[in-house]
Amino acid sequence: MEGLKIVFEGNNFLRLLSGLWVTIRIALISIGFSLILGSLLGAAMRMKSKAVRAVCRAYLEIVRIMPQLVWLFIVFFGIVRTLGINLSGETSAIIVFTIWGTAEMGDLIRGGFESVPVHQYESSTSLGLTKFQAYIYVIFPQAIRLLIPNIINLSTRMIKTTALVSLIGVTEVLKVGKQIIDANRFEAPNAALWVYGTIFVMYFAVCFPLSMLSTAIEKKQKKLSA
């Protein structure tokens, strides 16, 4: 049990929490950007121009085909090399998760736009709204409401995936955990079990309520529409 004591000794638990915050902050910033850019992408995917749609489609497929970790490597190691810009791990992560999040969010929002009945588009046109106004005031608010559960799910996915940033050298919760384990190697040889167990529980404590929330909203929406 001395391993469990280590977790709560001194400010260790606080350090773990601030490590967790590092990844969650990356996730939140990326989710914010993805929502904005994803809405634009979603709208672009419904344009009449075949070329625009093809470009969007290609973007989506290219982003999706590679594991996120590969993208992290490409940006973190590759950009530094080819462009000579020195990006911190955190910045690279935000770039990668925004690119990925935009693709996923865009696809969700496109689906949302499609689920809004045609007469809504037609009525807004007949009211004299421009296309832009129709999207902003009529279509988007309706689409986004239906999408809230999916957006929450994507957000949990992004929070989980940001755990990968420890592999490009960002000092987040797994790294802090390792520091704590290493510092107490002799006093608490079994610390690894408890520290990684604690991190497991921490992630669960963050993601589980979000999953529950999205399921609850989904159920409510189903009831309302039924």
Partner: protein, 217 residues
């Protein structure tokens, strides 16, 4: 771009790609089995097992694979359970994939209308026969798109295995970048290797899906 570097080092990638595919395939097959068992316990509402399944599903879906792997690889040995990198990777992937598969398969089962089962019963089919001839083929068709999305998702997740010292594609790429600082070449080979693995499967899945949609619905 240094082509000789690529020709010199590509065998490393081939070896790593094979490892990725083998561990990935084993993990995915085991995930499907775990997922099927979980889906069945939830579909037939088997008392105690069902609760365990629900707890497992929530635990597995709400934690990142890398944290699960760290616990398996660095944590468990302190409790006397020592696993190899390969075993950790496969167990971790199965732990993660099992819940995703179970959700997809369960929704396949749930898509079958009650009337279908009742009709089968009235035709005098036994429970086993209903399962074999009515429920299973339709559920498989309905679950197929979600299951194939899971397969691709899990294949991509194998990239995390490098974190527990499994010499997969990511591991080799990182090694080469570290040793020779041949970043462009190493990353290029990494991307190509993943494309060769994932692209055909992704295409196959979309073809299958299209065919099912045409034939099934």
């Amino acid at each position: 771009m240094d082509l000789t570097f690529i020709t010199q080092h590509y065998p490393l990638y081939v070896k790593a790609a094979v490892l990725t595919v083998v561990t990935g395939t084993i993990g995915i097959v085991l995930s499907a089995i775990v997922g099927l068992i979980c889906a069945l316990t939830r579909y037939y509402k088997i008392p105690v097992l069902r609760t365990i399944t629900v707890i497992y599903t929530e635990l597995s879906r709400n934690t990142p694979l890398i944290v699960q792997l760290f616990f398996l690889y660095f944590g468990l040995p302190k409790a006397g359970i020592v696993l190899s990198s390969e075993a950790c990777g496969i167990i971790g992937l199965t732990f993660l994939g099992g819940s995703y598969m179970s959700e997809s398969i369960l929704s396949g089962f749930q898509s079958i209308k009650k009337a279908q089962i009742e009709s089968a019963e009235s035709l005098g089919l036994t429970r086993g026969q209903i399962m074999r001839y009515v429920v299973f083929p339709r559920a498989a068709a309905a679950a197929m798109p979600a299951v194939s999305a899971n397969i691709i998702f899990l294949l991509k997740e194998t990239s995390v295995f490098s974190a527990v010292a499994l010499a997969d594609l990511m591991y080799i790429a990182k090694d080469l970048i570290g040793m020779y600082s041949s970043t462009t070449e190493s990353l290029l080979m990494l991307v190509i290797a993943y494309l060769i693995i994932i692209l055909p499967i992704s295409l196959l899945c979309s073809v299958l899906e299209r065919r099912l949609r045409r034939g099934g619905a």
